[in-house]
Structure formats: structure tokens, C-alpha cells
Amino acid sequence: MSATTAADAPGWLASQKSRVSGPVATTIGLGLAGGLLLIVQASLFALLANAVIFDNAGLARIAPWLIGIAALVLVRAGLVYAAQQSAFVAGRRIKTAIRARLIARLGTLGIVWQRATPTGDVVNTLTDGVEALEAYYARYLPQSALAALIPLSILVVVVPIDWLSALILVITAPLIPVFMVFIGRGAEKLNQRQWRRMGQLSGHFLDALSGLSTLRIFNLGRREARLIARFSEEYRLATLRVLRLAFVSSLVLEFLATVSIAMVAVLIGFRLLWGDLGFAAGFVVLLLAPEFYLPLRNMGSVYHARMEAIGAAEGIVVLLDEAESGPATAMPGTEQIGLAAGRAPYIELRDVGLCYPDGTPALRAIDLAITPGETVAIVGASGAGKSTLAGVLLGLLAPSTGQVWVDGIDRSQLDAGYWHRFCAWVPQQPRLFHGTVRDNLALADPAADDATLWHALERAQARDFVAALADGLDTAIGERGLSLSGGEIQRLAIARALVSQAPFVVVDEASAHLDRPNEVALTAALAELGAGRSLVVIAHRLATIRRADRIVVLDAGRIVEIGTHNRLRAAGGPYAAMLGEAPR
């Protein structure tokens, strides 16, 4: 996160204004109308009070004024309601639009970025962060406009009535924004730092919870409780430091507003005593004085809302920025034609190289062709680039150099969604999504019927354990759902790939040792998956490798050997060395 993007947050917030200019303007208009009616109501009430106090007026005489006041109150109530609704609409529009935009960006960021970024941070930006934007558009923008318009309207009324009171209002009012900006600047800087600190401290709490078993095994459970208390305490003290300053701005506001009202009251009192002013005139000024300061006063809390929105916007701006400056979209193209539906394409990597964002090469000069229907095993040490190669084959990662050709078409011309219709993926740790077994299986094809799903489960050797679940296909799985063993999850993911009917499948084999029944099942499931499809397996088990048509040996991002098991073993090269203690 660079300092410039963080500083951009206020600018970015302002730039999004155009999305909600309609409802914001409506909110301001309704608020202003309410303010004007309040002035009329105050005037009526002043006349009424004058009649009651000095003319000994009875109810009959004041009835018209009273009825007028009652009518105005009802209209004002309607305006208050309407303003609340249009402010909500502003917030609603912005939240919908920004969340949609962020999610769309998410799709272009790809897995390199995703693996390098804490999931929790991104989720917070997408949920709470977007939620916090509402305050800026639904509250800060309308209220800050009204903070100028309503006092001005009141001033227009007060000047002809009593210039001296007007003078007090005129002198004090500009001081308020001046002070606010003056103090707000400092507080804002502190606040931005504070927001990050808060993120870190909240992060610490979550981190401690998710690493709890580690903490306990190292006897740090009790210590961590103290650490949480200490960090929260630090957070409290840091926050209070900010608030002490932030609240000074509201102290100044409050001081100017309240003391001015007191001054207006005292000065009016004396001029009434000396007979320089009529009571009704003085009374209406006294009634309007608090209303003059009210919108300015509210600016304190509204400003706070703005700062919170800025804090949230920082995360959003960073995410949007990364989408623009981050790694290029793996497949920027738009073509949706060229490949034969349902048939595995001929995939050719030509001189493909890929560098991580920090510049270290992950793949270098890869030339590799996958002919339709063949099974290719990729082997190599950890860090040799196996997963990266799989990512490139799937179109999840963009090569830094070289091209990928599919059936004679430069794949970067193709639309990503179109290409992915030909792909299925069984990751090393498949993610179970919130939902039922059915939802997870039918990821690629939501319309798949039960027979299709059961057939896929059968072929993936997963039928028995799914059938044994309480609700069968409708059993809830995922983070909060039922827990399945690693072998079961892997076979469920194979079934998912089978359901998708994609002709090109990449499997990242789990490296854990399986017991005999599981091992047999996995081998059978992979054989089913390879039937009639192009299959690329990042292989860890010899059973898989032996069955492969070709074995690709990677080392430090390069292909060092390609061939069949028997040929490579006989060649006595890296692959044979890898087999190590398996001399035959």
C-alpha cells in the first residue's frame, strides 16, 4: 500500500459523487425546505408569544397562528421522512455500484494476487468497507451542504430584524468551519493511521483465534489472553489520543455555538430593556439562533463519518489500484469462437516464461504441447514451478513472455470464460463452498440432474460416502458444514470435474499418504478422469506417474526431461535420480 493511494481516498470518494448526484440533491432540497419552513414556524410562534405575553391575548386570538404552526409541523415531518429515504437511496446506490465494481475487479486479479493477499482483508473491504461508504454520501455530503444553506437562510431573515445579532452570527459562523478544517486536518492524518492500526489490532485478535491450537500447544494460551488485553488497551489509548484532538474540534464548535446563543440572548435582553427592539423580533432571533448553529454543530459527527468513510475508501482504492497496476489479466481477449465444443484442444506453450511480481522467475522458456486425450504428469521438487505451470495451462496466470496456442489460436485472443468452459481443475486443497454437496458438485453446471451427479460420484469413487451422509446430496458442507477427510474432498473435487464435462483437466495431487482403500480409490478416480480427456497431473504418486503418457520433469522453472516412465528411468537422468532408492 503506497502513501499516494492512501492520500487518494478523499479524492476518490469525491469522484464517485456523480453516481448519486440525484438523491444527494434531493436530500439537500428536502432538508432546505424543512429549514425554511422552520423559520416560518419560528416567526409565527414569536408573534403568538408576543400576543400572549404583552397583549394578554386569548386562545381565540392566537388560534390562526396555532393552526398554522400545527400545519407546518406536519409538512416538516413529511419532509424529514422523505429526506431520510432519499439519503438512504444515495447510500444504497453507492454500495451496490462499488461492491459490484470491486467484485468485477476481483475476477481480473487472479490467483497470484489472491494467494499473496490475506483473505480477511479483502473480505472486510468488500463487506464492512463498502458499508462504511454510506456515511459519506448519505450523511456527509447532504449535511455539509445544509450546513451552509440553512444558516445562510436564517441570516437572511435575521439581518433585517436585528443587525447586531446577525453580526454575532456572521462573525462566529465562519470561525466554525475554519477551526474544523484546521483541527480536522490533524485529526484526519491521525485517523488514517488509526484505521490501519485498528485493522492490525483486529487482525491480531482474529489471528490469535485462528492460531489458537498452536498457542495452546506451546503453552501460550494464557499469555495470549494478556496480549489481547494489552493490544486492545493500546488501541484504546491510541484511539483516545485521536479522540482528544478530534473532540477539540467539536469543543470549539460547541463553544462558539453555545456562547453565541448566550450572547445573542443577553444582548437582545438589554435592547429589549432599553426599548431598542420589539419582543417578537427579539424572540424570533432567540428561537432561530440555535437552529443557525445546529447544522454546523452536526458537522462534527458528520465529519467523523467522513473520516471513517475515508478510512474504508483506502482499502477500496488499494484494491481497485491493484486491479489496474497488478499482473495483467491472464486472458484479456474477447473471442468466443474457434474451439470445437466438447473436444479437447491441442494446447501448445511456446517459449513461455513467467516472473513473480517481485521479479524472480517461476517459469523459463517452457515449450510443451498437450495433445488431445493424453495424460501428462508433471513432477519436480517443491518450488520447481509445477503449480505455476498448471496455472498457465488453465489460463489463471498470464505468461510474462511467450504464448499459449490452443488449436492454432493465440489463447490471449480468447475470452476467459469461453476458454474455461474447456477446463476443469482439481486443486491440491479443493475448496468446499458454502452450500450442499449438490451445489459443490454442480459448480460448473447448476442444471445437472441427480443422475448425472451420482454417476460422476460413482466414477470418482465418492458414491459410497456421499450416499452415507445424512441428507445425501443435500447435506450441507463448507466451512460451517460437515467435515470430510482429505481423501474424500479430493474425490469430491474429481467428481466436480467430471460433472463439468470439460475436456481438459488439471489435477494437483495431494501429497499426503493415503491408506490402501483410499489410494486404490484415487487411482481409479483419476483413471476415470483421464478417460477421453486431456489430463495434466501434478503427480506425487508413482501409480499416477506410471500411467501417464508422458512425464514432464521440472527443475527451477525449466523442463529438464520429457518422456515415459520407462524411458526416463532408463535414461538415468534427473527423473531416475528422483526415483532415488528405487533401483530396479
Binding site: 396555532l66 400545527a70 489472491q114 499473496a116 474455461h420 526415483l579
Partner: protein, 592 residues
């Protein structure tokens, strides 16, 4: 209201700050109401005196007006500071409370609770609860007391005015917001529930990005998130309408009080029972009392959110830790003999045994490998040993007595564990190693890193030992994470070392380096290695073979190779390609 009582139990330690904040709130609110009423009375009296050509004592009211203005200003500042401070104190208290609830749970209880969305929800629930004081308690109590005070003042002028105004304000501050909050309960709860779903769907979307893209499901899932956003907003819209109704209702109720006051007080004035100038005092106090009820609608709405959050958090209270510490624990034993005596354990009461009738004994200083396929019961064995889970039948003994007779703290102090899943904290590499022994100095840290054969890797990181590692140790390879986990354990210098799959992600050369570096360290210590890799097993004089929860072999490797079929299958040369073994560089031939 039992939810509030529960909250009060958590918040009780901070009652001093609460009381102070409340007093300041009341003073602040009351002084503003008084300021307006006194000002009204003052100018009315001055105008009356001016008309009559009389002089009057204006010093007292003028000074009172200034005094009230100052009180209001200063009071407001400190009120906000004290109340925010109290809120943050509650936040700390709740976090620690929650952590303490969760900390003693067993590995199985805990694994059911894990998951990003659940933890994130807990966090926001805790935030909601810490806001209760500021959003609910302060407005309700301070507002209520100020209304009562104003009523007392009105009663001095007219009983009828006092009664009618109290009624109107009770409607404005009590009945109306109550009705609005009641109507808002359902959408409020729905909004919270939808927000939780929105969060977990978003977690899926972010964490499952690659899979969703490949399976063409990203758009669909994104649409679901969009639909949930809409649903969330629909609930919020209902709440917003209610908020609007509440605001409008309060405006009407307060002004109704004003109109009623005029209607009631004018005849009283005409009758001469009170002075005409008092009209200004009485009516301005009505207008000023609007402040006392202004925050009530938000307070009542906060109540709904507060209840939902409380209900969810209280559910954690019901979780009783499965593992109970002995009241008078035995002192830690001197000899660290470990005995499993017909131990049976499983994940849930109706699951198959994860470990069945396991019986063996490990003498101090013995180096034992435990091998078995995934699901054979190896991790359960480690959990039993570390007392993260309990044996359902049979007994685990440490130094002669059952582990349950000792303080778990003492037991774990004798253990250095490399768990299968190594959690790296979002902290520096050094901090992550120091988890093994937070008191260790830098020298010890580096020594442990060297012994775990990770020192050179760490020095190659951009900031060496100070490099931050991400949520899952993002920039590190699986093998590096594992070796950090090993360094963490070695730092402890405990008599029993337990390593669960230490070789996962490690190439043979690194493994050899580790054995050389750690050999002298491990000599004389008990070592349990859970592994399937021959080169790790080879360093142990004894192997225990597990198959689907049962001990199917126990003895020296040479014997097992002859007597145990599962041992042969698991260690069969070439039965498995060691994925992480680097091919010899010299033999590299670059094809292409």
C-alpha cells in the same frame, strides 16, 4: 432483559467510567435545556421591564446564561471522551472474555468453530456489544432523567402542562421508538443474518477465486453476492423507512407538546395564576426537551442489533470445555515415560474409532517413528499426547500417572510439538519462531533456526528475520513453513519432541542437513516422528505402524520389514515418488 443483565455482568468492571460518563451526559443535556428556558425567560422579563420603564436585576440571569453555556460546552467534551473510553474498555473486556471462553476447548470442539466467517462475525458482534453503552444506555438514562427534571419544572407552573408534556415526551422518546424498534426487529435480525451470509459468500468468492473461474461459476457466485447485497439493502430500506417514521413522529410529538402547552397555559396566564413572561420559559423548555428524546430512536434500534449479537455470543458460553484440569494436579514427573494403555478415541460419539485399543510404551530418550496412511489415527495420537483431546476408553500415562492427573500446562511444557498444520502468525519470522519460547534471546533463535536448517532461507528473505509473513505464510514454501515450525519446537528445549509429518515439503538433502544439525540436540530426548518417509523413519530405532486406528506393528524397522505387511506397503521403495526431492543438478539436461 436478561440479555442486558448478561451484558451488565461483562461490563460491570467499568461501572466507574460508566457512572462518570452518565453524570456528564446528564449535566450537558440539562444545561442546554436550562440555557434556552432561562434565555427565553430573561428576554421576556427584560422586554416587560423595558415596556414598563422599570429597571430589573439582570446580573443574575445573564450570569446564569453564560455559566450554562460554559457548562454545556465543557461537559460535552468530557462526556464524549469518557463515554468513548468506557466503550473501548468494554471492547477489550469482551474480547478477552471471548478468548477465555474459546481457549480451553478441545481440538475437536475447536475445529468445529474454526472458519473465517464465524470469527469475523464474532468480531463484529463484539463490536456491536461494546457500542451498547454509548448508543443505548447513555441516551436512555440521561434522556429519561432530563425529561423528568423538565416535568418537575413545568409542574411549578401548571400541573396539566406537566402531565401533557410528560405524556407527549414519553410518546416521543418511549412509545414511538419502541413501536418502531419492534417493527424493526424482524428486518433488523434479517439484516444481520443476511450480512453474515454475505460475508461467508464473500469469503468463498475470494478464497475460491481460481476454482470459481475455472468452473465458470465466478459470475454466478458474484451474482449471488449481488443478490445478497440487494437483500441486505432491502432489509436496511425497511429499517430506514422506520427510522424516517420515527424521526417524523418525534418531531410531531414534541411540537404537539408545544401546541398543547400553549392551549393549556394561556388560560392560566389569563386567569393571572402565573406571570405572562413565564410563557417564554415554559414553551422554550418544551422546544429544548426535544434534545432529550432525539437519540431515543437509534437507542431502541441498537437494542435489536444488540440482542441478536448477544444471543450469538452467549451460545459460546454454553460450550463446556471437554478437557477439565485436575483440582490438585500432581507435580510434573521427572521421568518422561509415555504409556498408551488400550486407548480408544474418536472425533464424535458416533464416528468410527480414530484410534482403537492402542497400547505401547515409550521410554525416555527413545526415538520412535509412527507411520500410517492418512486417517490411520496418527494425528489423534498426537492430540491425545498433548491433551488436546480425550481418550474415550483406556488411559494415556505420563511418568506413571494418567495425563489427566497433571496440569496440562506442565505436560505441554515437557513437549515440543511440530504440528501437521503449522499456523504462521501475521508477524515477523523471528516472532513466529519465538512462539516456541517467547523469552529466548536472538542467539537461541538463530541456533534453533540453524538446527531446523532454515537459517539460510531466512537470511535470503528481504528483511531476514524481520520479514513479515502473511496470513498463511504467503511468501514461504511449504517446506520453509515446516522448518519454521521445527525451529519453533526446537527452541523449546523440551524433553519430549513430537513431529507430525516433519518431512512434508522437505527434500532429502534438507532432511539430511536437519538430522545432522539436530542430532546432538535430539540425543537424550524422547523423539516421536509421525511420518511415512523412509529417510525420517530410518533415523528411528523403533517404528509403530498404524492402520485405520489400530497398531498393526511395533518394533525395529528390520523386524517390521519382515513381519508387517502395512509397513512394507508404506515404506515400499518407489511406491511413491518423493515429490520434493531435488534432482541432482549435474544430471540436468535441458530439453527443448
Amino acid at each position: 432483559m436478561s440479555d442486558l443483565r448478561w451484558w451488565w455482568q461483562r461490563a460491570r468492571p467499568y461501572r466507574g467510567a460508566f457512572a462518570l460518563g452518565l453524570v456528564l451526559s446528564i449535566v450537558t443535556m440539562a444545561s442546554n435545556m436550562a440555557l434556552l428556558a432561562v434565555s427565553g425567560g430573561f428576554i421576556a422579563a427584560m422586554a416587560a421591564a423595558g415596556l414598563a420603564g422599570l429597571d430589573m436585576n439582570y446580573f443574575t440571569p445573564a450570569a446564569a446564561i453564560r455559566g450554562l453555556a460554559i457548562t454545556r460546552t465543557v461537559g460535552r467534551y468530557f462526556e464524549r471522551l469518557v463515554n468513548h473510553d468506557a466503550t473501548l474498555k468494554v471492547l477489550t473486556g469482551l474480547r478477552v472474555w471471548f478468548y477465555n471462553q474459546i481457549e480451553p476447548l478441545s481440538a475437536h470442539q475447536w475445529s468445529r468453530l474454526r472458519g473465517g466467517d464465524l470469527l469475523a462475525r464474532v468480531r463484529s458482534d463484539i463490536d456491536t456489544l461494546s457500542g451498547v453503552y454509548l448508543q443505548l444506555v447513555v441516551p436512555a438514562i440521561a434522556g429519561g432523567l432530563c425529561i423528568l427534571g423538565a416535568t418537575a419544572v413545568w409542574a411549578c407552573y401548571s400541573g396539566a402542562v406537566a402531565v401533557v408534556n410528560l405524556a407527549c415526551l414519553v410518546v416521543a422518546g418511549g412509545v414511538l421508538p419502541w413501536a418502531v424498534a419492534r417493527a424493526g426487529e424482524a428486518p433488523g435480525q434479517a439484516a444481520v443474518a443476511v450480512a453474515a451470509r454475505l460475508k461467508s459468500e464473500t469469503v468463498d468468492l475470494v478464497a475460491g477465486l481460481g476454482e470459481l473461474q475455472i468452473f465458470g461459476a465466478f459470475e454466478r457466485r458474484a451474482d449471488e453476492v449481488a443478490a445478497l447485497t440487494e437483500a441486505h439493502l432491502d432489509h436496511q430500506a425497511r429499517l430506514s423507512r422506520l427510522t424516517g417514521l420515527g424521526q417524523a413522529g418525534v418531531l410531531v410529538a414534541v411540537n404537539a407538546a408545544l401546541v398543547a402547552t400553549v392551549l393549556l397555559i394561556v388560560p392560566v396566564i389569563r386567569a393571572g395564576a402565573i406571570a405572562p413572561v413565564d410563557f417564554a420559559v415554559v414553551t422554550l423548555l418544551v422546544l429544548a426537551s426535544a434534545e432529550a428524546v432525539a437519540q431515543m430512536p437509534t437507542a431502541w434500534q441498537a437494542l435489536g442489533q444488540f440482542r441478536a449479537a448477544t444471543r450469538r455470543l452467549r451460545a459460546f458460553e454454553a460450550l463446556r470445555p471437554a478437557i477439565i484440569e485436575p483440582e490438585t494436579p500432581l507435580p510434573a514427573p521427572r521421568r518422561h515415560t509415555l504409556v498408551f494403555d488400550r486407548v480408544c478415541a474418536r472425533h464424535t460419539p458416533d464416528a468410527p474409532w480414530a484410534l482403537a485399543e492402542a497400547t505401547f510404551s515409550i521410554a525416555p530418550g527413545e526415538h520412535v517413528a509412527i507411520i500410517g496412511a492418512s486417517g490411520a489415527g496418527k494425528s489423534t495420537l498426537v492430540h491425545l499426547l498433548t491433551r488436546m483431546t480425550l481418550a474415550e476408553r483406556g488411559m494415556v500415562r505420563w511418568g506413571g500417572a494418567p495425563v489427566a492427573a497433571y496440569d496440562s500446562h506442565d505436560l505441554r511444557a515437557a513437549l515440543a510439538v511440530v504440528p501437521q498444520h503449522i499456523h504462521l502468525f501475521h508477524a515477523s519470522v523471528a516472532d513466529n519462531i519465538a512462539v516456541g519460547d517467547p523469552a529466548a534471546d536472538e542467539g537461541a533463535l538463530v541456533a534453533a533456526a540453524r538446527a531446523a536448517a532454515i537459517h539460510d532461507d531466512i537470511m535470503a528473505l528481504p528483511e531476514g528475520y524481520d520479514t513479515l509473513v502473511g496470513e498463511q505464510g504467503m511468501r514461504l514454501s511449504g517446506g520453509q513453513i515446516r522448518r519454521i515450525g521445527i525451529a519453533r519446537a526446537l527452541l523449546r528445549r523440551a524433553p519430549i519432541v513430537v513431529m507430525d509429518e516433519p518431512g512434508e515439503g522437505l527434500d532429502r538433502a534438507t532432511a539430511e542437513r536437519f538430522w545432522q544439525a539436530a542430532g546432538s540436540y535430539l540425543a537424550g530426548r524422547t523423539l516421536l516422528v509421525v511420518s511415512h518417509q523412509p529417510e525420517w523413519v530410518a533415523h528411528c530405532e523403533r517404528v509403530i505402524v498404524l492402520d485405520r486406528g489400530r497398531v498393526v506393528g511395533d518394533g525395529p524397522p528390520e523386524t517390521l520389514a519382515e513381519t508387517c505387511a502395512e509397513y512394507r506397503r508404506l515404506t515400499r521403495p518407489g511406491g511413491r515418488l518423493d515429490p520434493d526431492q531435488k534432482p541432482a543438478r549435474a544430471a540436468c539436461l535441458t530439453l527443448s
